[in-house]
């Protein structure tokens, strides 16, 4: 270990705090490669899962079109971002996409209200059973899928601008003198901050406002809500509007953090549903917890632990493999396995949702 210490700074040879330093380096590496990425991915999943869980709780079906709803909202945001960029409008260090986000949300709201009007309302009037809605939503998925690719194309689109890092790995190393750098991307910071704000707003809305309570009442007992003078169509509309907001925000944050590609949103459906089910479908708190459970599992299982392990264990025990449980190509399998385990062992999810 002493030998390795020479690599970074000769005078550090003098101190005999190698192990502490190694531990610190291990923690920094862990934060850099696991904790921070998983936090922001978890926040994105949580926002997606909240949308799914709201629809499940209030409109009573699992909305398979949610991934593509996110893609649509994000697409509108991307297009408006490009427009703003061409006009030379920017937010300085922050991504211009944040300025375009409200337009994306509006576009997504219009889309969802239109879909409800044209498609779902008919089935609601028939009192169709939830499973029919699920299949209908699958049809909507395909249409949205095609629509998004038709408008923006199937390829990766970049729309991120502004400052890339809040703290870059190099700055961190310079400040701390540690060997490992800790990068904190602007998009990660924005993701976590936005998620906290959105979740706080949503819970305030559902628990404190009249409309929010009427949505919970409708979710609890439709007939009694009707008897109390609550307008079911209004509840449905407000739900779609909120879901549009959540889906667009989740989609844009994901797009900023990774990149915008229509197909990845369809793939996101699995981890999002896994999050919602792990937390307990229909339970908003569960959706958030589930998002982080899935994100942390996915990142830890697919992370190559070699570096962190090398810092922590004695020199002669340092691994010569990557210590990676699963290649990142298989990251979707993680959600799938967790989903299976939860459905087998505790189908109501960690926070006792509605599924039995």
């Amino acid at each position: 270990m002493r030998v390795r210490a020479t690599l970074y700074s000769p005078d550090e040879l003098i101190y005999d705090k190698d192990f502490e330093l190694d531990l610190l380096n291990a923690i920094v590496a862990l934060s850099n490669f696991v904790i921070i990425p998983a936090m922001s991915y978890g926040a994105q999943l949580a926002l997606g899962a909240l949308g799914v869980t709201l629809i499940y709780g209030i409109l009573r079906f699992s909305n398979f079109a949610h991934g593509d709803t996110m893609a649509f909202g994000a697409m509108v945001t991307v297009l408006v971002t490009w427009l703003f960029q061409s006009w030379g409008i920017s937010l300085g260090p922050l991504p211009t996409a944040l300025l375009a986000l409200p337009f994306g949300i509006l576009g997504c709201m219009a889309l969802l209200l239109a879909t409800d009007r044209v498609v779902y309302r008919f089935y609601r009037a028939q009192k169709a059973k939830p499973v029919i809605f699920v299949i209908v939503s699958l049809g909507v998925t395909f249409i949205l899928n095609g629509l998004v690719r038709f408008i923006i194309g199937p390829d990766d689109q970049r729309f991120l601008d502004g400052e890339r890092f809040i703290i870059s790995a190099r700055t961190f190393k310079e400040i701390t003198g540690l060997r490992e750098g800790l990068a904190f991307k602007t998009t990660q910071g924005i993701t976590i901050l936005t998620a906290v704000i959105v979740v706080a707003l949503l819970f305030w809305f559902l628990n404190r406002t009249r409309t929010g309570k009427s949505m919970r009442a409708y979710s609890d007992n439709e007939d009694l809500a009707l008897l109390s003078g609550i307008n079911p169509e209004r509840v449905v509309r407000v739900t779609w509007l909120i879901v549009a907001g959540l889906a667009t925000i989740a989609g844009v944050l994901y797009g900023l953090d990774k990149s915008f590609k229509p197909f990845t949103y369809f793939q996101l459906l699995l981890p999002i549903f896994a999050s919602a089910i792990v937390g307990g479908l229909g339970n908003p708190l569960g959706a958030i917890a589930g998002g982080f459970v899935i994100a942390f599992s996915e990142v830890t299982v697919t992370y190559a632990w070699k570096k962190v392990v090398t810092y922590v264990v004695p020199e002669d025990m340092a691994p010569d493999t990557l210590v990676q449980l699963l290649s990142t190509d298989y990251k979707l399998a993680v959600s799938f396995v967790i989903l299976l385990i939860v459905l087998l062992v505790k189908p109501t999810g960690l926070f006792a949702g509605k599924a039995v």
Binding site: Y56, G57, R60, F61, S62, Y123, Q126, K127, A128, K129, P130, V131, I132, F133, V134, R210, K213, S214, R216, A217, S219, D220, N221, E222, D223, L224, A225, L226, L227, S228, G229, I230, N231, P232, E233, I277, L281, G282, L343, P347, K354, A355, V356
Partner: protein, 274 residues
């Protein structure tokens, strides 16, 4: 497999759908108009014929009514259509024939929400509280259509049912049967209705609680709210009734004052156990 394409196939998978709390009513559509129709009792479902959705008729030319300052009681065997009659009066299902009139207006075409706004309050027989919401939220939801200050009414409900005040922050689903019924009645009273409809308010509660609930209901009636009530405990209910209806197979079998029905040998033999 059923012939109805929107029925129950493949609905056991709760990770796909959430049937709990799903509506069963096929209510009168929104946007209907009411029009003046003078005369008659305060609230009447007149010559009602109809059933659930496209299903068979359950009610056949059935009439139930309650007038100002009265308690009207509907009794009859299980499956007679008592609950169906109440729902029909409230617009929770479509009538094929007949009218519903309230306070000199024909409201047959009004949706349930509009009937709430007209001053009708209804406590259904089953699922009559929001189980996942607190007692206080249940009462708030009862007052959903009101835009004025509801704290006065809520205080009145807490006076009427003191136990609810104690439990106001508890989820209504965690309460005992009798307390749930109090929540249900309280919720319906929150709109300050002009007429109250109760479907078996004493179902599933102990005899002591039942007497207590009856007392409370009479107390409400004394405040001037007419009450139309379905009751299993026919004898006790008819004793306090100004008007009684015996329904059999969706039809009016006997109608009269509470005392008349209690005295009628036919009614006694068939419905009051001799």
């Amino acid at each position: 497999m059923s012939s109805d394409p929107y029925s129950d196939r493949g609905n056991k998978d709760l990770s796909l759908g959430n049937p709990k709390g799903m509506g069963t009513a096929t209510p009168v559509k929104q946007g209907g108009k009411s029009y003046p129709s003078a005369g008659g009792p305060f609230l009447i479902g007149e010559n009602m014929t109809g059933g659930y959705g496209a299903g068979p008729d359950i009610l056949h030319d059935c009439t139930i009514a309650v007038d100002r300052g009265e308690i009207a009681v509907i009794v009859g065997p299980n499956g007679a259509g008592k609950s169906t009659g109440m729902k029909a009066v409230f617009g929770m299902l479509n009538l094929r024939e007949g009218h519903v009139k309230l306070d000199g207006e024909d409201i047959t075409q009004l949706s349930p929400q509009d009937r709430v706004a007209k001053g009708m309050g209804f406590v259904p027989q089953t699922s009559n509280i929001f189980t996942s919401m607190t007692v206080e939220e249940n009462l708030e939801m009862g007052a959903f259509i009101r835009t004025d200050d509801i704290s006065g009414t809520m205080a009145q409900i807490y006076d009427l049912f003191p136990i609810l005040k104690e439990k106001r922050l508890q989820a209504a689903g965690e309460l005992s049967g009798g307390q749930r019924q109090q929540v249900a009645v309280g919720r319906a009273l929150m709109t300050q209705p002009k007429v109250l409809m109760l479907d078996e308010p004493t179902a599933g509660v102990s005899p002591i609680v039942m007497d207590e609930l009856f007392d409370r209901i009479i107390e409400v009636a004394r405040t001037g709210i007419p009450i139309l009530m379905v009751e299993q405990n026919a004898r006790q209910a008819l004793e306090i009734a100004d008007k009684g209806y015996v329904l059999v197979q969706g039809r009016n079998a006997y109608t009269g004052t509470g005392k008349e029905l209690l005295a009628d040998p036919e009614v006694r033999k068939s419905f009051l156990g001799g």
